[in-house]
């Protein structure tokens, strides 16, 4: 009888079927002591703490109902993905450090001090498994806006150097180069010229004065450049004064997604400054959900006062043009299912805009269960798609999404968010969906009736 190979020790003691969870993996940035990480996390968490967040922290009754709204919980059944649980260390910290009875909690040590181990373990919950889609907000009987609390927790995590590496690196790239995906001003300009040739459409860039400043997301610039040409085509069709601008074009905001408020401000400021410089009356945002959230709802707050221009999402813009009868569209016929981008519909309030456009295209919209404001998130927003270790989780969420879309048996699959689109493309391929989701903007541009 030969000796067993002992090079790889075999653990005969552990239960064979008990090893459900792999070891917790987390990333760190910067050289800091553990105590310093915790301190920074708490400082930055407290920094933007006001009565709204405090009310939410006070209100949770631990009913667990929010779990039913979360695509990550529903598809895995793992209790740790319960939305409000994702901010548990911060709830503890609030009660101990900031709440009205903080002295009480501290004096009797009723809530222990948050440890760096807890923050490390929570990294996955705050980043990998939350798209900040806000579906849980609608399920919570207390109306706690959990998504906004996760956003605040990210501020803390960023300054503690506890961000998943890929997301952190992408955010850094965006801050330093002006684009998370390498679409720096030079690349942006080149790709515009290329699209201009390719699609034979006039595309304006760096005009000194224009009524509309048009922004793009890196995903479109790099992956779906036809969107740029199509935006130009529609704007030219309407005879509007518009321009792209190399000083302010990147609509995505990885400062917001990663949790760095300073960077979020920098990124928004570029667009704001450019719009003011060219005296734009409108900033037109591309098919991107978080870009809409960042500029439409956070932009003025980053600026510190109301913006001297209006901010519109391309779907709102198109819906307006359709309603005013300025946009004449061919009847496409067919049936379609529409995937609502969470940040534009549920959290943005523009749920009806794409529906008006779809109607104008003569398409029969088939709403599946859980659509519109209650839409299931695609699972890739909030920076999740950049985190590779979250891929499996993201695919799981997408299984639910695809099932929902397929239930309509519609001819066309549409959306108006390039990040959702990119996630559908990637996950769809992984899950052998065999279908493609299309951009609503591109569908409109392809079906313009030119008055001759």
């Amino acid at each position: 009888m030969t000796d067993p190979i002992i090079e790889h020790a075999v653990d005969m003691e552990s239960k064979r079927f008990g090893l459900k969870k792999p070891m917790v993996r987390y990333d760190t940035q910067g050289e800091m002591s553990d105590a310093e990480r915790v301190k920074k996390a708490m400082q930055h968490f407290a920094k933007d703490f006001g009565y709204v967040a405090a009310t939410y922290m006070e209100s949770c009754v631990h009913c667990g109902i929010c779990a039913n709204a979360c695509h990550f919980y529903v598809t895995t059944g793992d209790p740790k993905y319960t939305p409000i649980w994702k901010i548990e260390p911060f709830k503890q910290a609030y009660k101990r450090e900031a709440g009205p009875f903080a002295f009480f909690y501290k004096l009797f040590n009723l809530k222990h001090k948050v440890t760096v181990e807890e923050l490390e373990a929570w990294q996955e919950l705050i980043y990998d498994s939350c798209t900040m889609c806000g579906r849980c907000t609608l399920a919570c009987p207390m109306s706690i806006d959990i998504a906004s609390l996760v956003g605040m927790a990210r501020h803390a995590m960023f300054h503690a150097g506890l961000v998943p590496h890929e997301l952190w690196a992408v955010a850094l790239k965006a801050e330093e180069e002006g684009s998370p995906l390498g679409a720096n001003p030079k690349v942006f300009k080149e790709r515009i010229r290329w699209m201009e040739d390719e699609h034979e459409v006039d595309m304006y860039i760096d005009k000194e004065q224009a009524d509309i400043l048009v922004c793009m997301s890196s995903i479109e610039i790099q992956k779906y450049p036809k969107s740029m040409a199509d935006t130009a085509k529609v704007l030219n069709y309407l005879g509007l004064s518009w321009t792209f601008h190399t000083e302010g074009y990147e609509a995505t905001n990885f400062g917001l997604l990663s949790g760095n408020l300073d960077w979020q401000k920098d990124m928004s400021q570029k667009i704001i400054d450019t719009a003011i410089k060219i005296k734009a009356k409108t900033v037109l945002l591309p098919e991107c959900g978080h870009a809409y959230q960042a500029m439409r709802w956070h932009g003025a707050n980053m600026y510190g006062q109301s913006l001297p221009f209006t901010v519109v999402h391309i779907s709102e813009f198109l819906a307006d043009a359709v309603e005013q009868g300025k946009l004449k569209l061919r009847t496409v016929g067919k049936t379609a299912a529409f995937h609502d981008p969470c940040q534009v519909s549920r959290r943005g309030g523009a749920t009806q805009a794409p529906r008006k456009i779809i109607e104008a295209l003569g398409i029969e919209l088939r709403e599946p269960a859980s659509s519109g404001d209650f839409n299931w998130c695609c699972g890739g927003g909030g920076g999740v798609i950049t985190i590779h270790r979250a891929d499996e989780l993201r695919y799981k969420a997408m299984e639910l999404k695809l099932k929902q879309m397929d239930s309509t048996r519609a001819h066309l699959m549409l959306t108006s968010c390039s990040n959702c689109r990119q996630n559908f493309d990637d996950s769809g391929e992984h899950l052998a969906w065999g279908r493609k989701i299309e951009s609503l903007l591109e569908l409109v541009a392809d079906n313009l009736i030119e008055d001759k």
Binding site: V52, A54, W85, F104, D145, S345
Partner: protein, 220 residues
């Protein structure tokens, strides 16, 4: 001795419990309200009736959205049964009304004792079911802390002791009554410090979220 305990329960204990209840509640609500209120500079999509939407939400959100109802309505029903049961017993049992009359100077008609005992029994049963569900459901089991179990205990204690007082199972009626009153005071004293405050927060929180999203034209 038992008479003294009852005197204590009816006298100074009641006064202190009420003082701690009112002061604690105000402290906690004002403490949170007093934190920074940040102005939202974004251009609202909706300007009319935002306040009304906030007020509406307090009532509309009493029930889950139909979207989530199939999965969560059982939990809603159980909690409404014990909430409603608790308040029926508290407000419509004749001896309780006499107690309130003492403080407020006016009373109201009560319900027959048999009805009260029946409702009390249902309340205890619903609270037991709620506790069992909390322990059996992996999500709530994971989230639950001391506050959850203690809040449950101080809620069920006055109902159980109240039923015991009237069931005459315990020979020393006055001692039992004293324990019943003290258990209610424990509830009053604990209320401002834990999750039982949700009775107040639910209005603040629902209103806050509804107003925030109403100006965006979004759902809340």
């Amino acid at each position: 001795m038992s008479v003294t305990l009852l005197d204590f329960a009816r006298g100074p204990a009641m006064q202190w419990a009420l003082i701690i209840f009112v002061f604690g509640m105000v402290w906690r609500l004002v403490g949170v309200w007093g934190l920074r209120h940040k102005a939202d500079h974004s251009q609202p999509r909706v300007t009319q009736g935002v306040w009304k939407r906030g007020l509406r939400a307090v009532f509309v959100r009493v029930l889950p959205y139909p979207e989530f109802a199939p999965k969560v309505q059982g939990q809603y029903w159980i909690s409404y049964v014990f909430h409603l049961g608790f308040f029926i017993v508290l407000l419509f049992f004749v001896p309780h009304i006499l107690f309130f009359e003492d403080i407020l100077g006016f009373g109201w008609p009560g319900l027959p004792n048999n009805v009260i005992f029946f409702v009390g029994g249902i309340t205890v049963a619903a609270l037991m079911v709620a506790l069992i569900k909390r322990i059996l459901n992996p999500v709530t089991r994971m989230m639950s802390n001391f506050d959850d179990y203690f809040a449950w205990f101080v809620t069920i204690a006055p109902v159980v002791t109240g039923l015991l007082v009237n069931a005459n199972l315990i020979p020393n009626y006055e001692l039992m009554l004293a324990i019943h009153i003290l258990s209610f005071q424990l509830l009053l004293i604990y209320l401002p410090f834990g999750k039982l405050m949700h009775g107040f927060w639910l209005m603040v929180s629902r209103w806050t979220t509804a107003v925030r999203f109403a100006r965006r034209g979004g759902l809340s």
